[in-house]
Symmetry: C2
Subunit: 325 residues, 2 copies
């Protein structure tokens, strides 16, 4: 057992989070994460309506009576998203922890605070983390350059960003990005974090609600098999290297390229559907992090979590302890 | 005391290296590193001739009787460098450890092997590390995206690259890039490395033979104050963000830019001289890593090393040990 501010605050067994992953954060995966003793997050916006989120929370509760949270990713969108309604569903369902990401969580904090919901905000820089701390969030999940999805535009990896964040902040810090195993968890704890957030590692599990081809490709891929796209639009995203993402990167690198030039190729939800649901690995752009190079098998969520904890304990109590004379 | 394969092999007190830094790896700094119980490297090519290197080795030996090494950076150059002569000087001086960097160390290994000189090769990718292992080097210093100088073109930071390297290689791995304090050393050891190589941290020491302005600027800078230049020439270098490096980055980003377009600005040794010797921080391009964000004071080499070890021990024996129930 590894006990930290994360496990104590949320009443979970292990300082491991499965943060919000669009399309993956559904009852199947998140209940399995909860049953394994880690803290998982349903993704609110994976559900088409607030009512569907309420139903997904209820469905998760049928599968586990252990704690889990909901991710609320706040993005500028063309079609307005009824964030207030999603937030009300979260509060009314009695969810006790929310992971916010994207824009500032500030507008949502009064309601969450009033309901006693703890807020973990994802940030990719110390300055955004400090701003969220001032706004009143309870934990920061600091997301390094290695991560899948949106690493921000600063390109600071976890080895530097985690200790920089823990030094600057008063609230506890969760390490995110580049972590997939027990060595990574031990390193994150050494750098001052209270837990490790993992995404890609949980994609390659039996319970992840995605096509087997995707899981096997993550195992086959190395740390070199990602591409950062959309840098020129100040909306960088780390995605898996495939024909689609490489074409997007090439078009985007041309002088004067606009998002419209790649929007069709990027193909959003449709591409995700092609890949994640149908297993067509070249059918769209899809997300995974550099930790692909550290993932060598598909296993059950429980086996993954148990192995991470066993390895981290071995690193701490045997390897590291034996080096100190 | 922290004992690892590094300390045992080289007979040094601490698993900390001060790897080769052009212009800085001279007797003053490297003798101080040796006296502090860490393993430092004179930079062969900082000396204008092989004879000057022999003299610098002798000068270092007057200042310390503890072990130190020599860095031999192998680069394609317009003016041929007499590498064989530098190598002969190293061997004849009885140096027992060499850090190689740049191109393949292969041509130099037979002589070093024959003389019993151990070789640590710096590599920025697992594939280059494997190739150097096959060639017969003794240690790999794996250099992540965070590092000052040449991070390679793969953009894989230490959190992923260190465990990927330790898994792939049979020989011991030294972690390089992104490390400047005791938490970083503990994290590197947790990730499977046997030591931490630090460059920028040793620039901000009393004994570093550079202008005080540079040391104070490293302290003032944050993890955001670097720029990667020369990416488009497949010769990426992480340098400090200043007017010169930003101009180089901007010119280089224009379509069709060639190295000739930025060569004058980059200004090589002259720019380094302006900055490092004369303290004109805008007088050229100069190197430091993202660890600038983790360095908060100029101190003596001994105080820096002692603090890193004390902090790493505290992390291992107190913080981490207390988390495991």
């Amino acid at each position: 057992m590894i006990r930290t501010e994360l496990t104590e605050t949320f009443g979970v067994d292990h300082p491991i989070l499965c943060g919000g992953m669009t399309g993956l954060g559904t009852a199947e995966l998140i209940s399995a994460v909860a049953e394994a003793g880690a803290l998982g997050f349903l993704t609110a916006l994976t559900q088409p309506t607030p009512e569907a989120l309420a139903a997904e929370i209820a469905r998760t509760r049928e599968l586990t009576d252990k704690p889990f949270g909901v991710n609320l990713t706040i993005l500028p969108t063309i079609d307005p998203v009824p964030y207030d309604e999603y937030r009300r569903v979260i509060v009314e369902a009695g969810i006790t922890v929310v992971e916010t990401a994207g824009s500032s969580p500030k507008p949502h904090l009064p309601d969450f605070k009033a309901a006693g919901v703890k807020v973990i905000h994802k940030a990719t820089s110390v300055r955004h983390a400090l701003s969220a701390e001032r706004a009143g969030v309870d934990f920061i999940s600091i997301d390094g350059f290695e991560c899948a999805g949106h690493p921000g535009e600063d390109d600071v990896p976890g080895l530097v960003l985690i200790p920089a964040a823990t030094r600057a902040l008063s609230i506890p810090v969760i390490a995110s990005g580049g972590l997939a195993d027990g060595r990574g968890l031990a390193a994150a704890l050494a750098l001052g974090a209270c837990a490790a957030n993992m995404g890609t590692r949980f994609m390659a599990t039996d319970e992840a609600p995605i096509h087997e081809n995707v899981k096997q490709q993550i195992v086959a891929n190395t740390e070199l098999d990602t591409v950062v796209v959309f840098r020129q639009f100040h909306n960088s995203a780390r995605v898996v290297k495939n024909s689609v993402s490489q074409q997007i990167a090439e078009i985007g690198a041309q002088p004067g390229a606009t998002f419209a030039d790649v929007a069709e190729l990027a193909s959003g939800a449709r591409g995700r559907q092609n890949v994640l649901a149908e297993g067509d690995l070249e059918g769209g752009m899809w997300w995974a992090g550099q930790t692909q190079g550290l993932i060598h098998e598909v296993a059950s969520v429980k086996d993954v979590v148990d192995q991470i904890i066993a390895d981290a304990e071995q690193v701490i109590t045997e390897r590291l302890a034996s080096l100190v004379g």
